[in-house]
């Protein structure tokens, strides 16, 4: 199957899932047997019939639920997520403000996790059942078992407060001015602006949270790397490669790793979701101005428009990341190309 057809097919498959996500979010937000007006407008505005009417009309509240959902969907397609009760701002604006910080953190966390995980996995596979294998595996298991928020506190206390090896909480030193907003990702924006001081500070502040989040997925990735490497290392073509007299390092890295890549990429896609969850749990500890703190505030204040907006968005990101993973398969696995 040619690449564009394959991609098109995957994209089309994604659409009903995205629609379904909005439906699930809508059902949860409307499951509460309370008047959405009470839940969505501040007390002081409830007596204002004009405002109440305008709100009813915008969200079709006088209509049956199915129509309400369609109205919501229609607004959503125009980029209108509604207005947050708590911040009183359009949710789309709020998301644009807070999401990049979380994306940046989840992405550097992924990079850290993949690097750690792949290295550990290879070590584990090559020295299978030796002491180092057990140590690495135990370390990986600890990574997935210690709650991220505990890991974050340990990291902050030991690595930052005691030893001073890594920068402290916050996304950027308060004295520095954030780079001009292009992507919202400080690393990219500061590099584009050529502001290396901001770049360095932003990078130094990403180190600890990325390691903490990376620890979690590194455990999963090293496990998968280990098993798929073990499988690959025993395969016939590996024996052939060795018999050709290639050096073991070349055999392992070039032939072994490239063939073990397919399951690893799958896991990376799947664990992006846990990374987003981890970011939500650690943002308050790292004073990280991200979507997790926003979502937390929304869910404790029953700000349902914001809860729906964020859930839909994060679920969509997760679906899209996995779509990208599917497309990556196409390049990594010849069997899909043949199918």
């Amino acid at each position: 199957m040619p690449i564009h057809l394959y991609v098109l097919r995957r994209v089309i498959f994604t659409i009903p899932i995205l629609l379904g996500i909005t439906l699930v979010a809508f059902v949860i937000a409307n499951a509460v047997p309370s008047d959405p007006i009470n839940a969505n407008l501040p007390q002081s505005q409830l007596n204002n019939t004009e405002l109440v009417e305008a709100f009813r009309k915008e969200w079709g509240l006088d209509k049956p639920p199915v129509e309400q959902y369609l109205t919501y969907l229609g607004n959503l397609l125009q980029g209108n997520f509604g207005r947050s009760i708590k911040s009183r701002q359009p949710i789309a604006e709020d998301i644009a403000r807070y999401l990049p910080a979380t994306i940046e953190l989840a992405t550097t966390g992924t990079v850290a996790g993949v690097v750690l995980g792949v290295v550990f996995g290879i070590i584990s596979a090559v020295w299978q059942n030796r002491l180092i294998d057990y140590l690495v595996r135990a370390f990986g298991l600890i990574g997935v078992s210690v709650p991220v928020f505990v890991l974050a506190l340990v990291g902050l206390t030991v690595l930052h407060a005691e030893l001073g090896w890594v920068a402290g909480p916050g996304r950027l030193g308060a004295r520095l001015t954030p780079p001009p907003n292009v992507t919202g990702l400080f690393l990219i924006d500061s590099a584009l602006a050529g502001n290396w001081i901001v770049f360095r500070d932003a990078l130094s502040r990403l180190v600890l949270p990325s390691l903490v989040l990376g620890m979690y997925i590194s455990g999963i990735i090293s496990r998968i790397t280990r098993s798929s490497m073990l499988e690959v290392l025993r395969a016939d073509y590996m024996r052939t490669a060795r018999s050709k007299g290639l050096r073991e390092r070349v055999v392992v890295l070039r032939h072994g790793l490239s063939n073990a890549m397919v399951p690893i990429v799958t896991v990376i896609g799947l664990s992006y979701g846990s990374l987003l969850s981890g970011a939500v749990l650690t943002e308050s500890i790292f004073a990280w101005p991200g979507i997790g703190r926003y979502m937390f505030r929304a869910s404790t204040s029953q700000d349902f428009p914001a809860i729906m907006g964020v859930s839909i968005l994060i679920a969509s990101i997760y679906v899209i990341v996995n779509l990208i993973v599917d497309v990556l398969y196409y390049f990594l696995d010849p069997r899909i190309r043949a199918a």
Binding site: G20, A29, L141, P147, F149, L153, G273, L281, T300, I314
Partner: protein, 290 residues
């Protein structure tokens, strides 16, 4: 045939024991995990006799004390004994994690079995539904649900069950599809047994084993997520010695490391233990991993 008959019960037992010892030797992680879980499962019911202090007794004068002989793991911001609270915390976190898994796996198993057995449009609908639920990162979906239901321990469990059932539904459905193809099921159908009966008596028993393995792998995860929700303040009430909640208080007192480290280690030890067991079981059952 004769060799089987000649086996006495005692030698069979010895053989089983030898095999267990062999497995344990080869899988030190399995043993460690089992010991830790056993210790916690024992600690929970025995908490009242193991605890050194009343877990609600406040003592402002001796608040935020570091670990000492009087308070093994120190005291918290209201002068309560952290060691005793962590012990009692086992009575909340372990049952919560286990009930999420039990309820979630029961619901998932039933739904998955129906999907696999009935097939057709129902299968399609249920499978798409599971995909939808699995598209949300766990914490996000659980936060949305607790927002709708209000934060307390029961609602946190409900939220996690909603997040949890789909993976069981998918697993069991897959197994049902596989078993359905087998001859004995077809034979039962040919004999005119009702569908529900076939499902109940022949298919399910064959799918239960993998589901049970998934549950052991999963309890650690459920405990972790439950502690996460309660860390965010979406779980039990503030006075509760729930571990995640205790760690959350530590953010305000992170200089006083004992306030958050001990409950944090409690969560970690339990989850590590479950993961040690799960990992070893996976290796035992999946020869490719050896």
């Amino acid at each position: 045939m004769s060799s089987t008959i000649s086996l006495t019960p005692a030698s069979a037992r010895r053989k089983a024991l030898n095999r267990a010892v062999y497995i344990a030797r080869r899988n030190p992680l399995l043993v460690i995990g089992a010991v830790v879980i056993f210790a916690w499962v024992l600690a929970a019911p025995l908490a009242p006799s193991l605890a050194t202090h009343d877990i609600l007794a406040q003592d402002i004068a001796s608040r935020l004390q570091p670990p000492s002989a009087a308070h093994l793991w120190g005291t918290d911001e209201l002068g309560r004994d952290i060691y005793s609270r962590v012990l009692f915390g086992a009575r909340i976190t372990i049952p919560a994690g286990v009930s999420v898994i039990i309820i979630g796996s029961l619901i998932g198993t039933v739904i998955g079995a129906v999907a696999g057995f009935v097939g057709g449009i129902w299968d399609e609908v249920i499978m798409r539904l599971t995909e939808l639920f699995m598209a949300f990162p766990t914490i996000i979906l659980a936060m949305a649900i607790t927002a709708a239901l209000g934060p307390d321990i029961r609602n946190a469990i409900i939220a996690l069950v909603v997040v949890w059932w789909p993976s069981y539904a998918r697993l069991v459905r897959g197994m049902v599809l596989k078993v359905k193809q087998m001859e004995y099921v077809e034979a039962a159908a040919c004999l005119g047994a009702p569908r529900a009966y076939i499902l109940w008596r022949t298919v399910l028993p064959n799918c239960i084993a993998p589901a049970i393995i998934l549950t052991t792998l999963d309890i650690g995860n459920a405990i972790l997520t439950f502690a996460g929700l309660s860390f965010l303040g979406l779980g039990p009430e503030p006075t509760s010695p729930e571990w995640g909640r205790m760690v959350a208080v530590g953010i305000d007192y992170f200089d006083q490391w004992w306030t958050w480290l001990f409950p944090g280690m409690a969560i970690a030890s339990l989850v590590i233990a479950f993961n040690f067991i799960g990992d070893s079981l996976r290796d035992l059952l999946d020869p490719r991993m050896r």
